[in-house]
Symmetry: C2
């Protein structure tokens, strides 16, 4: 399966995908990396891995649909079958969604995925880790989901949990979650590449039936001292 990765920033999740493809841990290859930010570190990472890149600056592009149409053109030219958002700091338009919507080969699943640094539906949108700290939760994590028209509202493919510790600041929590992201995103994309996912309402099923537990870390927070 040919992946197109969209990234605006450092691209550490892109790196996790590049590594997983290189090491044959998933049956996929990164065919194209697109960024809307000139000089994004993600572009350097792609180049270092020998992957084609394109940068289409979004700044000063008021026509979002036209911008997305140009992205879609590039992705199609590259033969991309699955679009992976990886720190892509823009909402995708209906133009984009319809170009990579559900297909027969994808068993009715959309062909755009995203990773978000919270246990959705908690803390969608920007600064998820900061939101989690302000809310005082003791468990947070990350979510891989199909992309729909909302902000981080699409069907959930996989989640991983991490503890939030009393002394955490935003960078500390973000780093703990990021380590799980780097594990979870390649795993989820590997399932898609193998055609193992299907949709049942808003539930994403692995192998169409009861499935092994998703990766789950630190199932227990602040318990066990007494019990």
């Amino acid at each position: 399966m040919r992946l197109g990765v969209l990234a605006s920033g450092s691209g550490s999740n892109l790196q996790a995908l590049l590594d997983a493809c290189r090491d044959r841990r998933i049956d996929a290859e990164v065919a194209l990396v697109l960024s809307n930010v000139p000089g994004a570190r993600a572009l350097e990472r792609a180049a270092a891995a020998g992957v084609p890149t394109a940068c289409l600056p979004s700044r000063g592009q008021p026509d979002r649909a036209a911008y997305d149409a140009s992205l879609v053109d590039r992705l199609r030219e590259a033969g991309v079958g699955l679009v992976c958002l990886a720190g892509y700091m823009r909402l995708v338009t209906a133009t984009f969604l319809s170009a990579f919507g559900p297909g027969e080969a994808s068993r009715g699943c959309p062909r755009i995925v995203n990773i978000h640094p919270a246990l959705l539906p908690s803390f969608p949108g920007l600064h998820a880790q900061r939101q989690a700290l302000a809310a005082g939760v003791k468990v947070s994590g990350c979510t891989v989901h199909f992309v729909d028209e909302g902000t981080d509202t699409g069907p959930i493919i996989a989640q991983a949990a991490v503890p939030v510790l009393d002394g955490d600041d935003e960078p500390a929590l973000a780093a703990r979650i990021l380590a799980e992201e780097h594990r979870l995103y390649p795993a989820a994309i590997g399932w898609i590449a193998q055609g193992r996912l299907s949709l049942q309402g808003r539930r994403v099923l692995l192998d169409g039936a009861p499935a092994p537990a998703p990766p789950l870390r630190s199932p227990d927070l602040r318990a066990g001292e007494v019990a």
Copy 2:
């Protein structure tokens, strides 16, 4: 510390508290069990443990403040220092909240706690497990929190996570979460009995006061697809 437990149903979390007190795993005793439902199994469990009970039927009691005032009277008579909601299917009124609000001995923490079968802030209110299944999350769990005027919105004391499996129905998920509830609730109440918790904004701290969390700027939820 003398606990007053309010329960409307089977009282399995009450049982976990009774057992933890009996076995001296926590430095507390259940001084009174109140129910709003005649014949609730929770009342039988309390009686079997030799704990005083009272049943004040809430049905046909339109004056909620007056009803809560009568509960508060009973709890005060029993010398209750901490109110534990355990499957209590009513919202408590301001009357109740002010009677068991923050005090000096509680280090500024409210003196009413609740346990909820979801990872709050996801899925507050009724049928949390059903909500989680409908949303298609892969991780859920339970939350012990202080009670405030909202529905399951108070400061979070402890959380435990469990996987949601593809084949889960509501009873299966509820049972998996319940096993964690029975561990987490006594643990959290044990910390309160030891005076180990304090509040810093909405964050509940165990044994101290680390650096304050960064303030939450109002997130622009439409600005970014990925955070």
